[in-house]
């Protein structure tokens, strides 16, 4: 009987296997290395531009050295802050509705709409904000930018609120109702607090996402050279400034673009990582 246990022929297959594994490793490393390359470059180019005056001053005209992105930082805080204030109630309420009224044509329609919205390119959302808040008022405004950012944040908030509320055990909700609590009290004082960690995490991630968005701002906030805190007026925004400086032909502005880019990356990473750490700690703290 010829039960050949020799490794003849296996050598070539083994080699193919090693080659393949090596290729896969290479691809994974390539992607990771790309990130490090971009990060590294931004840090190296941008760190030189960052100093106190960069963070606190207005942009200087071309030719005048110095200046900064102070108004952009302020503008970003105002625009994103306003967007968050608008997105949270709508997103949370819709999530509560979907969690409480689960099945049926209306909830399914809402979920479908939410999925559609999450796929809409941000530039199209910018067009919507323009059509609704800029064109009729014939006026660029920070508020219209916040409106656009709100639209970008909503799908994540809605989806996470629904999932988080759903994952609170049914028995906790029934326990509250069995005590004679109204649906309102049961949801708001008992179920929602339990679902909070996941919702806050999603909020941080949504904020991280819009911090990195520029497209909708082009024709809503429009940008500005001055300090501005009135949401009804055009306003500077950090990522918009980076964009404007980057495509300008002036080296002094271009180096400030790198500085701004570094600020953006730090902000987005802090928010994203902070969100994950927060979630992990909150999950551990709850004991269950």
């Amino acid at each position: 009987m010829n039960r050949d246990l020799s490794t003849r022929g296996l050598g070539r297959r083994r080699a193919m296997g090693s080659l393949g594994t090596g290729l896969a490793l290479f691809c994974a490393t390539l992607a990771a290395a790309a990130l490090l390359a971009i990060l590294g470059y931004v840090v190296v180019q941008g760190i030189g531009a960052i100093n106190w005056s960069f963070l606190t001053q207005l942009p200087h005209p071309v030719g005048v050295p110095g200046g900064g992105v102070g108004n952009g930082i302020l503008g970003s805080l105002i625009i994103i802050g306003t967007a968050t204030l608008m997105a949270v109630p709508i997103g949370l309420l819709t999530g509560i509705y979907l969690a409480l009224f689960g099945r049926g044509p209306v909830p399914e329609a809402l979920r479908f709409l939410s999925d559609v919205l999450s796929g809409v390119p941000s530039i199209a959302i910018g067009l919507f904000a323009y059509a609704v808040l800029v064109a009729p008022l014939k006026h660029f405004s920070a508020f219209s930018a916040s409106f656009g950012f709100m639209m970008l944040m909503l799908p994540l908030l809605v989806r996470t609120s629904e999932q988080a509320i759903r994952s609170v055990p049914q028995t906790v909700r029934e326990g509250a109702l069995a005590l004679g609590m109204s649906n309102f009290r049961a949801t708001v004082s008992i179920v929602l607090p339990t679902a909070m960690p996941a919702i806050i995490t999603a909020l941080l991630l949504a904020i991280a996402r819009v911090t990195g968005e520029t497209a909708p701002l082009l024709f809503t906030a429009f940008g500005s050279q001055f300090w501005e805190s009135n949401p009804g007026n055009p306003m500077a925004e950090l990522s918009l400034q980076v964009f404007t400086y980057a495509i300008s032909p002036y080296p002094s502005w271009q180096s400030q673009a790198w500085g701004g880019a570094l600020l953006l990356i730090v902000a987005v990473f802090v928010l994203s990582l902070g969100a994950r750490l927060f979630l992990r700690r909150a999950m551990q703290g709850s004991g269950t």
Partner: protein, 302 residues
């Protein structure tokens, strides 16, 4: 129902209705804004290749071409790299290597678009112009794809940047899908005497192909809508050229580049119509992707 409950229900209904109205309103406004352009140019808009603001002649073909080409380049590159990376991370990587690599790749998704554009403009473009471009031209210069002057900005650079931006999507979802394939399948294959690599390629990947395909389609959807990074490296020229080195335009980047300069109503309307086309394309592509990913991951949605 108590007054508190009634009030609560009313507020919840209000919030949800507002949500629905906003999204439906988005669609309606895009249609309303495009209407003058739709009426004036009709279906020929999609096939016309002239983009002439001065004479108010507008056609979407160059933008569609640019969008398709850059997205194709992106998805081809990102699928290969992403799927290979996913296979490695789920089936081959030891924990000490897999976790940090996964983490770094996911961070790629967090990088702001304008930062990609900045890096693309000042690092990748010169690199393409001085190194990658000439190398490709030397080998493939006889094809129209790699002929012509190399500016650095253009379809190829935009495609590469897009690929980087969507690799995390492909990798993360594919990795989850692959990891969800039951262990029994792998063990059955190994028990037949195959190598781990053969198992991964011939057994696991085919089993996961629907989910992986869905991941790629989803990534494609993201590439189609990407605006800022593309507009910074594509050259912004409304021309159709066979060469990948040529500057071009995408649906998203033309809106970004020209909207604030648009002077006439028909100009604005044409740009909004491009946005409407983008809306539909994204909706279809994303819908397709979700259907595929659902069928593999069950009720858990991305």
């Amino acid at each position: 129902m108590s007054p508190a409950d009634r009030g609560f229900a009313a507020v919840v209904y209000l919030g949800s209705s507002l949500f629905a109205i906003l999204i439906i309103g988005l669609f309606v406004e895009l249609v309303l804004g495009s209407w003058p352009s739709i009426v004036k140019f009709g279906p020929a808009f999609i096939f016309s290749s002239s983009w002439d603001p001065i004479n108010s002649k507008f056609g979407a073909l160059p933008m569609i071409y640019g969008t398709v080409v850059t997205s194709l380049i992106a998805i081809i590159l990102a699928s290969f790299i992403g799927i290979m990376a996913a296979v490695f991370l789920s089936d081959f990587a030891p924990r000490w290597l897999g976790q940090p690599l996964s983490f770094l790749i996911e961070l790629l998704a967090a990088v702001p678009s304008v930062v990609y554009g900045l890096w693309g403009l000042f690092v990748l473009s010169p690199f393409v112009r001085t190194a990658v471009g000439p190398a490709l031209q030397k080998v493939f210069g006889w094809t129209p794809l790699f002929s012509g002057p190399i500016y650095g900005v253009g379809l190829l650079t935009a495609g590469i940047i897009l690929a980087l931006m969507i690799v995390p999507t492909v990798t993360a979802i594919s990795r989850d899908v692959i990891a969800a394939i039951p262990r029994d399948l792998r063990e059955a294959s190994m028990a037949l005497g195959t190598t781990k690599w053969e198992t991964a390629i011939r057994v696991v990947l085919p089993a996961a192909r629907i989910g992986i395909f869905g991941a790629c389609i989803l990534a494609l959807g993201r590439a189609l809508g990407e605006t800022i990074a593309v507009t910074m490296v594509i050259g912004n020229r409304p021309e159709i050229s066979a060469s990948l080195f040529a500057p071009s335009y995408t649906l998203a980047s033309v809106i970004a580049n020209e909207f604030t300069e648009a002077t006439t109503n028909i100009y604005i309307s044409a740009l909004i119509e491009l946005g409407l086309i983008l809306f539909f394309v994204s909706m279809i592509v994303n819908g397709l992707a979700r259907v595929m990913i659902w069928s593999v991951r069950g009720s858990e949605r991305t």
